[in-house]
């Protein structure tokens, strides 16, 4: 005996297609979601814009203060130089930075150093300022890690 509620063969066709389409849509949606999740998870963070760091350096016979400057790769370092006595020079060895620091009371001069590569960059007075001239040296330490307190 046939149940009259049982769908006929003609009635079962569209329902089956609907279920198939639903399964397909779910599968595609899941796949897409997984793909998006994987893509998002594996995506590199967008490159950070270059940061800026300003350091005030006082030059006097025969020292720079501070004589050690720490920064990180990608930082644009602005070094504001001022003299407490005569005019001095400021040269970063291995770069084209070489500038005169004006005498005391004649203002400051600023040099820009783009820290593109990790390493230690020695700076020194490039203008003979007395017998202790050789003591006037310092270092810029460029590291991959961000130093505490860097602006």
């Amino acid at each position: 005996m046939r149940n009259n509620n049982t769908p006929t063969r003609e009635q079962q066709g569209p329902q089956r297609r609907l279920r198939s389409l639903t399964r397909l849509a779910l599968a595609l949606g899941s796949g897409l979601a997984v793909a998006v999740a994987v893509a998002v998870a594996s995506q590199e963070p967008p490159p950070a814009p270059p940061t800026a760091q300003t350091v005030d350096v006082l030059a006097e016979r025969f020292s720079f203060s501070p004589s050690e400057i720490k920064t990180t790769v990608g930082t644009t370092l602005q070094i504001r130089l001022e003299s407490d006595d005569t005019s001095h020079g400021f040269r970063i060895i291995g770069t084209d930075v070489n500038i005169e620091i004006p005498k005391r009371g004649r203002g400051t001069t600023t040099v820009t150093f783009n820290a593109e590569k990790a390493g230690r960059y020695t700076f020194e007075c490039s203008q003979l300022c007395g017998a202790g001239h050789s003591f006037m040296r310092g270092v810029i330490i460029v590291s991959d890690a961000r130093p505490a307190g860097a602006r």
């Binding site: 016979r61 025969f62 501070p66 009371g105 020695t122 017998a131 310092g138």
Partner: protein, 338 residues
């Protein structure tokens, strides 16, 4: 360069071109440098006459190997105190150097030797040198160690002295340091006895917005001072009264109260300066009050340019003697550095 007019109390004034300095340097490469300083004192030198002096105060090669480790050899400035390595007139107040920097630290103090120097961290500097010793036979009670400097001239190096300084410059405006000098200085009396001399020194200098504060303390121990006095008495017939300990200190406050880009700067200072070359005597010897000296110095400096200083000061000299009076003096100086 240092040109002075000095007027001690009860005496005629003296005009003196005190120091004329020539600096000759050469850079062989980024890592090897030569530095020299030739100084003519009192403008005139004549053999066998106590007039001026021509001194080679520095002449060394510097091998700059790294920030932390460098080698230096030649005639070196002894790295003791604030003034000895940085002794040109525009960098200190007063026409004359302090008594601490004259009798206890005999500036300008230089000897032949070699050593290492460098800097680590954020401004921790060191210098350690092996140098020729002092000559204890020339110590005097009036001028302490001063006449004992061998000055790099055919020096006796039977025993090598050691000297060094550790200083911290990591805080902007502040320089603090400790120094030492130690060496056996009795080469004229060996093998009968020797005269080990030990000096320790501590100093601080703080500068901010024209205000400058300086403090310095020095203590010297002259071992076997009794034997030294006996030996010198036999040699010259007069007891030189060399103390077993010498001690001194100075405190100075100054302020650049006027500053103009066009006219220059003016500063005033006050200094308390004490030097006692007989702080402790050998057993049986008594100190003499005139060698326990101190002074209050007040004055001003005008810098028309940062490297030119016009100085004026008045020295209120004192001592502990009831017989010998310490004279006051009025001084004018003109110094420059280039």
């Amino acid at each position: 360069m240092d040109f002075q007019y000095r007027k001690p109390e009860f005496q005629d004034g003296v005009l003196d071109f005190r120091r004329f300095v020539l600096l000759v340097t050469h850079q062989f490469s980024d890592r090897i440098r030569f530095v020299s300083e030739l100084e003519l004192e009192h403008a005139f030198v004549e053999g066998q006459v106590d007039a001026g002096e021509l001194e080679l105060e520095q002449a060394y090669l510097d091998f700059l190997l790294s920030r932390a480790f460098n080698v230096r050899a030649g005639i070196l400035l002894i790295p003791v105190g604030i003034l000895n390595e940085r002794h040109e007139p525009p960098v200190y107040y007063g026409v004359e150097r302090s008594m601490v920097d004259t009798f206890l630290i005999p500036t300008t103090w230089f000897e032949v030797g070699a050593g290492i120097h460098g800097e680590v961290g954020r401004g921790l500097r060191y210098r350690v040198y092996a140098v020729s010793p002092l000559n204890a036979a020339l110590f005097t009670v009036e001028e302490g160690l001063r006449e004992g400097r061998q000055k790099g001239s055919e020096t006796n190096a039977g025993r090598v002295a050691a000297t060094g300084r550790l200083e911290y410059l990591g805080i902007r405006g502040l320089t603090t340091g400790v120094s030492f000098w130690t060496g056996k200085s009795g080469f004229e009396f060996r093998p009968t006895f020797d005269v080990p001399v030990h000096l320790i020194e501590a100093d601080a200098r703080y500068t901010r917005r024209g205000l400058e504060l300086r403090a310095q303390f020095v203590e010297i121990k002259v071992s076997n001072a009794a034997q030294l006095n006996d030996a010198l008495t036999q040699r010259v017939g007069v007891d030189p009264n060399i103390g077993e300990r010498m001690r001194g200190a100075l405190l100075e406050a100054s302020h650049r109260f006027f500053s103009s880009r066009r006219l220059g700067e003016v500063g005033a200072f006050v200094r308390y300066d004490k030097a006692n070359t007989q702080a402790a005597m050998p057993p049986g010897a008594l100190p003499l009050g005139q060698f326990d000296r101190d002074a209050i110095v007040v004055g001003a400096t005008y810098w028309p340019e940062p490297d030119i200083a016009v100085k004026v000061d008045y020295v209120f000299g004192r001592n502990r003697s009831t017989v010998v009076q310490a004279p006051n003096s009025f001084n004018i100086g003109l110094g420059w550095w280039f």
